[in-house]
Symmetry: C2
Subunit: 183 residues, 2 copies
DNA sequence: ATTCATTTTGTTATGTTATATCATTTTATT
DNA sequence: AATAAAATGATATAACATAACAAAATGAAT
Protein backbone atom coordinates (compact mmCIF):
# COMPACT_ATOMS: atom_id res chain seq x y z
CA UNK A 1 0.00 0.00 0.00
CA UNK A 2 3.02 2.24 0.00
CA UNK A 3 3.55 2.62 -3.71
CA UNK A 4 1.88 4.88 -6.17
CA UNK A 5 0.76 7.37 -3.60
CA UNK A 6 1.96 10.15 -5.86
CA UNK A 7 0.50 8.53 -8.95
CA UNK A 8 -2.59 6.54 -8.00
CA UNK A 9 -3.54 5.97 -11.63
CA UNK A 10 -0.52 3.83 -12.21
CA UNK A 11 -2.09 0.62 -10.99
CA UNK A 12 -5.64 1.49 -11.83
CA UNK A 13 -7.66 -0.74 -14.10
CA UNK A 14 -7.09 1.38 -17.22
CA UNK A 15 -3.33 1.07 -17.09
CA UNK A 16 -3.28 -2.57 -16.09
CA UNK A 17 -1.88 -4.77 -18.80
CA UNK A 18 -2.10 -8.21 -17.28
CA UNK A 19 -2.84 -9.93 -14.03
CA UNK A 20 -0.27 -12.71 -13.83
CA UNK A 21 -2.03 -14.56 -11.02
CA UNK A 22 -3.85 -17.75 -11.88
CA UNK A 23 -7.60 -17.22 -11.98
CA UNK A 24 -9.88 -19.18 -9.63
CA UNK A 25 -11.60 -21.17 -12.35
CA UNK A 26 -8.56 -22.05 -14.40
CA UNK A 27 -7.66 -25.56 -15.51
CA UNK A 28 -5.15 -26.38 -12.83
CA UNK A 29 -4.73 -29.97 -13.94
CA UNK A 30 -3.01 -28.61 -17.02
CA UNK A 31 -0.71 -26.51 -14.81
CA UNK A 32 0.32 -29.67 -13.02
CA UNK A 33 0.78 -31.79 -16.10
CA UNK A 34 2.71 -29.01 -17.83
CA UNK A 35 4.98 -28.75 -14.79
CA UNK A 36 5.56 -32.49 -14.61
CA UNK A 37 6.11 -32.83 -18.34
CA UNK A 38 8.47 -29.88 -18.28
CA UNK A 39 10.33 -31.41 -15.36
CA UNK A 40 10.76 -34.69 -17.21
CA UNK A 41 12.14 -32.78 -20.17
CA UNK A 42 14.48 -30.63 -18.10
CA UNK A 43 15.84 -33.63 -16.24
CA UNK A 44 16.22 -35.67 -19.39
CA UNK A 45 18.18 -32.90 -21.05
CA UNK A 46 20.32 -32.04 -18.05
CA UNK A 47 20.88 -35.57 -16.80
CA UNK A 48 18.97 -35.14 -13.56
CA UNK A 49 17.09 -38.13 -12.21
CA UNK A 50 13.45 -37.35 -11.57
CA UNK A 51 12.82 -40.33 -9.30
CA UNK A 52 9.30 -41.26 -8.18
CA UNK A 53 9.84 -39.54 -4.84
CA UNK A 54 11.10 -36.32 -6.40
CA UNK A 55 8.36 -36.38 -8.98
CA UNK A 56 5.76 -36.88 -6.29
CA UNK A 57 7.14 -34.00 -4.20
CA UNK A 58 7.02 -31.78 -7.27
CA UNK A 59 3.43 -32.85 -7.84
CA UNK A 60 2.58 -31.99 -4.24
CA UNK A 61 4.25 -28.60 -4.56
CA UNK A 62 2.00 -27.99 -7.54
CA UNK A 63 -1.22 -28.81 -5.68
CA UNK A 64 -1.87 -25.08 -5.69
CA UNK A 65 -0.35 -21.74 -6.63
CA UNK A 66 0.28 -21.03 -2.98
CA UNK A 67 3.75 -21.50 -1.54
CA UNK A 68 3.94 -24.61 0.61
CA UNK A 69 6.09 -25.27 3.66
CA UNK A 70 8.49 -28.20 3.77
CA UNK A 71 6.66 -29.60 6.76
CA UNK A 72 3.33 -29.37 4.96
CA UNK A 73 4.85 -31.50 2.22
CA UNK A 74 6.21 -33.82 4.87
CA UNK A 75 2.72 -34.28 6.32
CA UNK A 76 1.29 -35.01 2.87
CA UNK A 77 3.99 -37.57 2.22
CA UNK A 78 3.39 -39.15 5.61
CA UNK A 79 -0.30 -39.47 4.77
CA UNK A 80 0.54 -41.63 1.80
CA UNK A 81 3.77 -43.34 2.89
CA UNK A 82 3.68 -43.68 6.65
CA UNK A 83 6.87 -42.70 8.40
CA UNK A 84 8.79 -40.07 6.46
CA UNK A 85 11.49 -37.91 8.01
CA UNK A 86 12.36 -34.27 7.22
CA UNK A 87 15.52 -35.06 5.24
CA UNK A 88 13.44 -36.98 2.72
CA UNK A 89 11.49 -33.85 1.88
CA UNK A 90 14.40 -31.46 2.08
CA UNK A 91 16.55 -33.60 -0.18
CA UNK A 92 13.82 -33.77 -2.78
CA UNK A 93 13.33 -30.02 -2.52
CA UNK A 94 17.08 -29.46 -2.80
CA UNK A 95 17.13 -31.44 -6.01
CA UNK A 96 14.10 -29.68 -7.45
CA UNK A 97 15.49 -26.26 -6.54
CA UNK A 98 18.86 -27.13 -8.03
CA UNK A 99 17.13 -28.09 -11.27
CA UNK A 100 15.19 -24.84 -11.23
CA UNK A 101 11.90 -26.73 -11.01
CA UNK A 102 11.00 -25.30 -7.62
CA UNK A 103 11.88 -22.01 -5.96
CA UNK A 104 12.22 -21.23 -2.30
CA UNK A 105 10.55 -18.03 -1.16
CA UNK A 106 12.92 -16.67 1.44
CA UNK A 107 10.43 -14.26 2.92
CA UNK A 108 7.98 -17.10 3.62
CA UNK A 109 10.33 -20.01 4.17
CA UNK A 110 8.22 -21.89 1.70
CA UNK A 111 8.41 -23.42 -1.75
CA UNK A 112 6.59 -22.99 -5.02
CA UNK A 113 6.72 -24.65 -8.41
CA UNK A 114 8.70 -22.77 -11.02
CA UNK A 115 6.42 -20.90 -13.38
CA UNK A 116 8.96 -20.94 -16.19
CA UNK A 117 10.34 -24.45 -16.15
CA UNK A 118 9.21 -25.16 -19.69
CA UNK A 119 11.76 -27.11 -21.63
CA UNK A 120 12.05 -24.41 -24.25
CA UNK A 121 13.96 -21.66 -22.48
CA UNK A 122 17.28 -22.76 -21.09
CA UNK A 123 19.28 -19.65 -21.87
CA UNK A 124 19.09 -17.90 -18.52
CA UNK A 125 19.85 -20.96 -16.44
CA UNK A 126 23.20 -21.04 -14.70
CA UNK A 127 25.54 -24.01 -14.60
CA UNK A 128 23.41 -25.62 -11.91
CA UNK A 129 20.14 -25.24 -13.75
CA UNK A 130 18.80 -22.39 -11.69
CA UNK A 131 17.57 -19.06 -12.93
CA UNK A 132 16.74 -15.78 -11.19
CA UNK A 133 13.09 -15.60 -10.20
CA UNK A 134 11.03 -12.65 -9.04
CA UNK A 135 7.74 -13.02 -7.24
CA UNK A 136 4.52 -11.26 -6.42
CA UNK A 137 2.98 -12.72 -3.28
CA UNK A 138 -0.60 -11.96 -2.30
CA UNK A 139 -1.07 -11.71 1.44
CA UNK A 140 -4.82 -12.07 1.01
CA UNK A 141 -5.32 -15.20 -1.06
CA UNK A 142 -1.84 -16.58 -0.38
CA UNK A 143 -1.00 -17.10 -4.04
CA UNK A 144 2.43 -16.32 -5.45
CA UNK A 145 3.37 -15.81 -9.04
CA UNK A 146 6.72 -15.73 -10.73
CA UNK A 147 7.02 -12.67 -12.93
CA UNK A 148 9.43 -11.64 -15.63
CA UNK A 149 10.07 -8.00 -16.24
CA UNK A 150 12.76 -6.71 -18.52
CA UNK A 151 12.76 -3.30 -16.91
CA UNK A 152 13.27 -4.87 -13.49
CA UNK A 153 16.03 -7.12 -14.82
CA UNK A 154 17.63 -4.07 -16.43
CA UNK A 155 17.43 -2.05 -13.25
CA UNK A 156 19.07 -4.84 -11.28
CA UNK A 157 21.82 -5.23 -13.86
CA UNK A 158 22.37 -1.51 -13.96
CA UNK A 159 22.53 -1.29 -10.18
CA UNK A 160 25.10 -4.07 -10.12
CA UNK A 161 27.10 -2.36 -12.86
CA UNK A 162 27.27 1.04 -11.28
CA UNK A 163 28.24 -0.41 -7.87
CA UNK A 164 30.76 -2.91 -9.22
CA UNK A 165 28.80 -5.74 -7.65
CA UNK A 166 28.77 -9.21 -9.24
CA UNK A 167 25.41 -10.83 -8.62
CA UNK A 168 25.37 -14.55 -7.99
CA UNK A 169 21.84 -14.93 -6.74
CA UNK A 170 18.72 -12.81 -6.34
CA UNK A 171 15.84 -12.70 -3.92
CA UNK A 172 13.06 -10.43 -5.16
CA UNK A 173 9.73 -10.95 -3.43
CA UNK A 174 7.02 -8.31 -3.47
CA UNK A 175 4.24 -8.88 -0.97
CA UNK A 176 0.87 -7.19 -1.06
CA UNK A 177 -2.54 -7.72 -2.62
CA UNK A 178 -3.21 -9.12 -6.05
CA UNK A 179 -5.64 -7.39 -8.38
CA UNK A 180 -8.45 -9.79 -7.56
CA UNK A 181 -8.09 -9.41 -3.82
CA UNK A 182 -8.33 -5.62 -3.99
CA UNK A 183 -12.04 -5.76 -4.82
CA UNK B 1 28.09 -14.45 -11.70
CA UNK B 2 25.16 -14.79 -14.00
CA UNK B 3 24.68 -11.23 -15.05
CA UNK B 4 26.53 -9.18 -17.59
CA UNK B 5 27.66 -12.13 -19.58
CA UNK B 6 26.55 -10.40 -22.75
CA UNK B 7 28.01 -7.08 -21.69
CA UNK B 8 31.03 -7.65 -19.46
CA UNK B 9 31.98 -3.96 -19.55
CA UNK B 10 28.90 -3.00 -17.63
CA UNK B 11 30.40 -3.60 -14.23
CA UNK B 12 33.98 -2.94 -15.18
CA UNK B 13 35.99 -0.29 -13.34
CA UNK B 14 35.46 2.40 -16.01
CA UNK B 15 31.70 2.34 -15.75
CA UNK B 16 31.58 1.97 -12.00
CA UNK B 17 30.17 5.02 -10.30
CA UNK B 18 30.33 4.13 -6.66
CA UNK B 19 31.02 1.22 -4.39
CA UNK B 20 28.41 1.53 -1.65
CA UNK B 21 30.12 -0.93 0.69
CA UNK B 22 31.89 0.47 3.73
CA UNK B 23 35.64 0.47 3.23
CA UNK B 24 37.87 -1.50 5.62
CA UNK B 25 39.59 1.51 7.13
CA UNK B 26 36.54 3.69 7.61
CA UNK B 27 35.58 5.39 10.86
CA UNK B 28 33.06 2.90 12.10
CA UNK B 29 32.59 4.62 15.43
CA UNK B 30 30.92 7.42 13.52
CA UNK B 31 28.64 4.89 11.78
CA UNK B 32 27.55 3.68 15.20
CA UNK B 33 27.06 7.08 16.74
CA UNK B 34 25.19 8.30 13.68
CA UNK B 35 22.91 5.27 13.90
CA UNK B 36 22.27 5.76 17.61
CA UNK B 37 21.75 9.48 17.29
CA UNK B 38 19.42 8.92 14.35
CA UNK B 39 17.52 6.32 16.34
CA UNK B 40 17.04 8.70 19.23
CA UNK B 41 15.73 11.30 16.82
CA UNK B 42 13.40 8.89 15.01
CA UNK B 43 11.98 7.58 18.27
CA UNK B 44 11.59 11.04 19.74
CA UNK B 45 9.70 12.20 16.68
CA UNK B 46 7.55 9.10 16.32
CA UNK B 47 6.91 8.49 20.00
CA UNK B 48 8.81 5.20 20.16
CA UNK B 49 10.64 4.38 23.36
CA UNK B 50 14.29 3.61 22.77
CA UNK B 51 14.84 1.89 26.10
CA UNK B 52 18.33 0.94 27.29
CA UNK B 53 17.80 -2.65 26.16
CA UNK B 54 16.60 -1.67 22.70
CA UNK B 55 19.35 0.88 22.36
CA UNK B 56 21.93 -1.69 23.36
CA UNK B 57 20.59 -4.24 20.87
CA UNK B 58 20.77 -1.60 18.15
CA UNK B 59 24.34 -0.87 19.17
CA UNK B 60 25.18 -4.57 18.97
CA UNK B 61 23.57 -4.84 15.54
CA UNK B 62 25.86 -2.01 14.47
CA UNK B 63 29.04 -3.72 15.63
CA UNK B 64 29.76 -4.34 11.98
CA UNK B 65 28.29 -3.99 8.52
CA UNK B 66 27.65 -7.71 8.43
CA UNK B 67 24.17 -9.03 9.10
CA UNK B 68 23.91 -10.62 12.53
CA UNK B 69 21.72 -13.49 13.67
CA UNK B 70 19.27 -13.09 16.53
CA UNK B 71 21.05 -15.80 18.48
CA UNK B 72 24.40 -14.08 17.99
CA UNK B 73 22.86 -11.01 19.57
CA UNK B 74 21.45 -13.20 22.30
CA UNK B 75 24.91 -14.54 23.08
CA UNK B 76 26.35 -11.05 23.19
CA UNK B 77 23.62 -9.93 25.56
CA UNK B 78 24.16 -13.00 27.72
CA UNK B 79 27.86 -12.13 27.96
CA UNK B 80 27.01 -8.82 29.55
CA UNK B 81 23.75 -9.59 31.38
CA UNK B 82 23.80 -13.23 32.38
CA UNK B 83 20.61 -15.13 31.64
CA UNK B 84 18.77 -13.66 28.66
CA UNK B 85 16.08 -15.55 26.78
CA UNK B 86 15.27 -15.40 23.04
CA UNK B 87 12.10 -13.31 23.41
CA UNK B 88 14.17 -10.50 24.90
CA UNK B 89 16.18 -10.24 21.70
CA UNK B 90 13.29 -10.83 19.34
CA UNK B 91 11.16 -8.22 21.03
CA UNK B 92 13.90 -5.66 20.79
CA UNK B 93 14.45 -6.55 17.14
CA UNK B 94 10.72 -6.37 16.46
CA UNK B 95 10.65 -2.88 17.86
CA UNK B 96 13.72 -1.77 15.94
CA UNK B 97 12.39 -3.25 12.69
CA UNK B 98 9.00 -1.62 13.24
CA UNK B 99 10.74 1.74 13.64
CA UNK B 100 12.74 1.11 10.49
CA UNK B 101 16.00 1.22 12.46
CA UNK B 102 16.91 -2.36 11.64
CA UNK B 103 16.07 -4.56 8.69
CA UNK B 104 15.71 -8.31 8.54
CA UNK B 105 17.44 -9.97 5.63
CA UNK B 106 15.05 -12.76 4.71
CA UNK B 107 17.57 -14.64 2.63
CA UNK B 108 19.97 -14.85 5.59
CA UNK B 109 17.57 -14.87 8.51
CA UNK B 110 19.69 -12.13 9.96
CA UNK B 111 19.48 -8.47 10.88
CA UNK B 112 21.33 -5.33 9.91
CA UNK B 113 21.19 -1.70 10.95
CA UNK B 114 19.27 0.55 8.61
CA UNK B 115 21.59 2.54 6.40
CA UNK B 116 19.06 5.32 5.91
CA UNK B 117 17.63 5.89 9.35
CA UNK B 118 18.78 9.52 9.44
CA UNK B 119 16.21 11.76 11.05
CA UNK B 120 15.96 13.89 7.92
CA UNK B 121 14.11 11.70 5.46
CA UNK B 122 10.78 10.51 6.72
CA UNK B 123 8.84 10.74 3.48
CA UNK B 124 9.03 7.14 2.35
CA UNK B 125 8.18 5.61 5.70
CA UNK B 126 4.82 3.94 6.04
CA UNK B 127 2.45 4.35 8.94
CA UNK B 128 4.53 1.98 11.04
CA UNK B 129 7.83 3.72 10.40
CA UNK B 130 9.20 1.17 7.97
CA UNK B 131 10.48 1.83 4.50
CA UNK B 132 11.37 -0.43 1.57
CA UNK B 133 15.00 -1.47 1.64
CA UNK B 134 17.08 -3.12 -1.04
CA UNK B 135 20.35 -4.86 -0.31
CA UNK B 136 23.59 -5.98 -1.85
CA UNK B 137 25.08 -8.83 0.16
CA UNK B 138 28.67 -9.95 -0.38
CA UNK B 139 29.10 -13.68 0.04
CA UNK B 140 32.86 -13.20 0.36
CA UNK B 141 33.33 -10.63 3.09
CA UNK B 142 29.84 -11.05 4.52
CA UNK B 143 29.00 -7.35 4.39
CA UNK B 144 25.60 -6.10 3.33
CA UNK B 145 24.69 -2.64 2.20
CA UNK B 146 21.34 -0.98 1.77
CA UNK B 147 21.12 0.67 -1.62
CA UNK B 148 18.74 3.15 -3.15
CA UNK B 149 18.17 3.12 -6.86
CA UNK B 150 15.51 5.17 -8.55
CA UNK B 151 15.54 2.99 -11.63
CA UNK B 152 14.96 -0.10 -9.49
CA UNK B 153 12.21 1.64 -7.55
CA UNK B 154 10.66 2.70 -10.83
CA UNK B 155 10.84 -0.80 -12.27
CA UNK B 156 9.15 -2.24 -9.19
CA UNK B 157 6.43 0.41 -9.28
CA UNK B 158 5.91 -0.15 -12.96
CA UNK B 159 5.70 -3.91 -12.51
CA UNK B 160 3.12 -3.44 -9.79
CA UNK B 161 1.16 -1.01 -11.95
CA UNK B 162 0.99 -3.18 -15.02
CA UNK B 163 -0.03 -6.26 -13.01
CA UNK B 164 -2.54 -4.46 -10.80
CA UNK B 165 -0.62 -5.55 -7.73
CA UNK B 166 -0.60 -3.37 -4.59
CA UNK B 167 2.75 -3.74 -2.87
CA UNK B 168 2.75 -3.70 0.90
CA UNK B 169 6.28 -4.91 1.53
CA UNK B 170 9.40 -5.70 -0.48
CA UNK B 171 12.25 -8.14 -0.14
CA UNK B 172 15.04 -7.33 -2.55
CA UNK B 173 18.35 -8.97 -1.71
CA UNK B 174 21.11 -9.40 -4.29
CA UNK B 175 23.85 -11.78 -3.24
CA UNK B 176 27.25 -12.02 -4.87
CA UNK B 177 30.66 -10.38 -4.58
CA UNK B 178 31.32 -6.79 -3.78
CA UNK B 179 33.80 -4.79 -5.87
CA UNK B 180 36.59 -5.19 -3.32
CA UNK B 181 36.18 -8.94 -3.06
CA UNK B 182 36.49 -9.43 -6.80
CA UNK B 183 40.22 -8.61 -6.75
C1' DA C 1 25.46 -62.31 -14.23
C1' DT C 2 28.70 -60.40 -10.76
C1' DT C 3 31.33 -57.01 -8.98
C1' DC C 4 32.03 -52.36 -7.96
C1' DA C 5 31.20 -47.55 -7.41
C1' DT C 6 27.74 -44.03 -7.20
C1' DT C 7 23.46 -42.18 -6.13
C1' DT C 8 19.33 -42.19 -3.66
C1' DT C 9 16.60 -43.09 0.28
C1' DG C 10 15.86 -44.43 5.23
C1' DT C 11 16.75 -43.43 10.02
C1' DT C 12 18.10 -41.17 14.20
C1' DA C 13 19.54 -37.34 16.32
C1' DT C 14 20.37 -32.59 16.69
C1' DG C 15 20.89 -27.75 15.36
C1' DT C 16 18.84 -23.19 14.33
C1' DT C 17 15.33 -19.74 14.26
C1' DA C 18 11.17 -17.94 16.22
C1' DT C 19 6.90 -17.59 19.10
C1' DA C 20 3.17 -18.48 22.77
C1' DT C 21 2.06 -17.69 27.39
C1' DC C 22 2.05 -15.88 31.79
C1' DA C 23 4.51 -13.49 35.68
C1' DT C 24 6.95 -9.43 37.14
C1' DT C 25 8.70 -4.93 36.75
C1' DT C 26 8.78 -0.38 35.00
C1' DT C 27 6.67 3.70 33.22
C1' DA C 28 3.07 6.92 32.40
C1' DT C 29 -1.49 8.79 33.76
C1' DT C 30 -5.16 9.92 36.85
C1' DA D 1 -1.15 6.68 45.88
C1' DA D 2 -4.03 4.14 42.62
C1' DT D 3 -4.54 2.61 38.09
C1' DA D 4 -3.55 1.37 33.44
C1' DA D 5 -0.32 0.49 29.90
C1' DA D 6 4.04 -0.88 28.27
C1' DA D 7 8.21 -3.39 28.68
C1' DT D 8 10.89 -7.12 30.37
C1' DG D 9 11.69 -11.73 32.61
C1' DA D 10 11.02 -16.61 32.46
C1' DT D 11 9.51 -21.12 30.86
C1' DA D 12 8.13 -23.91 27.42
C1' DT D 13 7.43 -25.17 22.80
C1' DA D 14 6.82 -24.55 17.82
C1' DA D 15 8.68 -24.35 13.14
C1' DC D 16 12.32 -24.89 9.97
C1' DA D 17 16.55 -27.24 8.62
C1' DT D 18 20.80 -30.26 8.61
C1' DA D 19 24.52 -33.75 10.19
C1' DA D 20 25.83 -38.36 10.14
C1' DC D 21 25.53 -42.96 9.11
C1' DA D 22 23.04 -47.25 7.38
C1' DA D 23 20.55 -49.52 3.80
C1' DA D 24 18.79 -49.92 -0.71
C1' DA D 25 18.64 -48.95 -5.55
C1' DT D 26 20.88 -47.78 -9.72
C1' DG D 27 24.37 -47.74 -13.41
C1' DA D 28 28.80 -49.16 -15.36
C1' DA D 29 32.42 -52.37 -16.05
C1' DT D 30 34.12 -56.74 -15.99
ZN1 LIG E 1 -2.91 -23.72 -11.90
ZN1 LIG F 1 -4.82 -12.46 -3.87
ZN1 LIG G 1 30.86 1.53 9.56
ZN1 LIG H 1 32.92 -8.36 -0.11
Amino acid sequence: MRQNLENPAENSAENRVENPFAQPGHDHASCVSAALDGAEAVCARRGGRLTPLRRRVLELVWRSHRPVGAYDLLALLQDERGRVAPPTVYRALDFLCAQGLVHRLDSLQAFIGCGHANASDDSDRDGDGQHPAHFLICQDCGAAVEVRDGQLDGAISHLAGRTGFAIADETVELRGRCADCQN
